[in-house]
């Protein structure tokens, strides 16, 4: 079974890329990973279409865990999940965790073959 994929969604492309660098340092290429940041005009913000694309790039049959920073990143991610075909929709979750720490810990968990539920639980313990 493939490892759970990780998607990082920040308002800032630099934050998203930097968080992704930290994830890669921990888990190398063992986990499908994609990041996105910035609004459709290239400013700070998030883009529904770019998030939908990132989910595809990090796709894993084991599921995809998304890590977000602020409001719009979460709402746009939720809309991107709802736009997926019905059989894929249940395999993608937005984790309620700090974006950097959540992505690193979630990816570390994923790299050991953990389920999507376990990846999410581990990341969300950071916010507990």
């Amino acid at each position: 079974m493939a490892n759970v994929g990780i998607v990082i969604v920040s308002h800032s492309p630099k934050v998203a890329e930097g968080a992704a660098d930290m994830v890669r340092q921990m888990v190398g290429n063992d986990v499908p990973l994609a990041w996105t940041g910035g609004n459709p005009a290239g400013g700070l913000g998030t883009s529904f279409e770019a998030i939908a694309d990132a989910i595809q790039r990090a796709w894993s049959d084991a599921g995809v865990a998304i890590f977000v920073d602020l409001g719009g990143a979460e709402t746009n991610s939720e809309m991107a999940i709802e736009a997926l075909p019905e059989d894929k929709r249940g395999s993608v979750v937005v984790c309620n965790a700090p974006i950097v720490e959540g992505a690193v810990i979630g990816a570390t968990e994923a790299s050991g073959g953990a389920s999507l539920a376990a990846v999410r639980r581990t990341a969300e313990e950071l916010s507990a």
């Binding site: 400013g43 700070l44 913000g45 529904f48 409001g71 719009g72 709402t75 746009n76 939720e78 809309m79």
Partner: protein
């Protein structure tokens, strides 16, 4: 122009039959109102948010305006769906998915020629979808503080001028509120004393809609 006005207070009457030109004017009125207020929305959002609401909304509604001819040829539900999709893909801030959700839910609920009852029900469902998307409700200093009372006025059978007035007063009533959702909530008590930018953009859109439907 083939505009028929039903008795707008009768629940079963068709509110207004909208031909293509009327639909185009409705879309343009809402879009132009938001675009014309970009600086005000930016100033409001700079006070309690990240300052991007005006330009995000402007970008979304400029894209809508570009499509106004194509939109005017669509059925009402298809038009709402196309506008919602455009806002989701173009706006980028938190308001994109929230307003997008509003229009996409309207698209699901509206028949081609809605009666007042149909429109009241569709608007209620759309507000419910926005509440779910934003995990919010009225009283938290958001667009819902305008949408909910405007809907109540609409459902109570008030005329377009009264609904517009309700929306404007509701937006002003967000000034003393403390933000509980979105980035403004980070400010806590410091969010008090500023009008919520989402409430303002909602009242602008409702005012444009009421004006346009009212003087056909």
């Amino acid at each position: 122009m083939t505009v028929e006005h039903g008795d707008t207070t009768s629940p079963s009457a068709v509110i207004a039959r909208l031909d293509a030109e009327r639909k185009r004017r409705l879309v343009a009125a809402i879009a132009n109102s938001v675009i014309a207020h970009v600086d005000e929305l930016t100033a409001l959002d700079s006070a309690i948010g990240d300052g991007d609401h005006g330009h995000n909304m402007k970008r979304g509604f400029e894209a809508v305006l570009q499509d106004q001819e194509a939109l005017s040829g669509m059925s009402l539900p298809d038009l709402a769906k196309a506008v919602g999709t455009k806002l989701v893909t173009k706006v980028g801030g938190a308001s994109g998915p929230l307003y997008g959700t509003l229009f996409l839910a309207l698209a699901k609920e509206l028949p081609d020629e809605p009666s007042r009852t149909d429109a009241v029900r569709a608007f209620a469902a759309a507000i419910g979808a926005v509440k779910a998307r934003g995990k919010s409700d009225a009283g938290q200093k958001t667009m819902l503080d305008v949408l909910v009372p405007a809907h109540q006025a609409f459902a109570a059978g008030e005329d377009l001028a009264a609904i517009k007035d309700t929306a404007a007063r509701a937006a002003a009533a967000t000034v003393p509120m403390k933000a509980m959702r979105g980035r403004a909530s980070f400010l806590g008590d410091r969010s008090i004393g500023h009008m919520d930018p989402g409430a303002r953009s909602s009242s602008l859109m409702i005012a444009a809609l009421c004006d346009e439907l009212g003087d056909g």
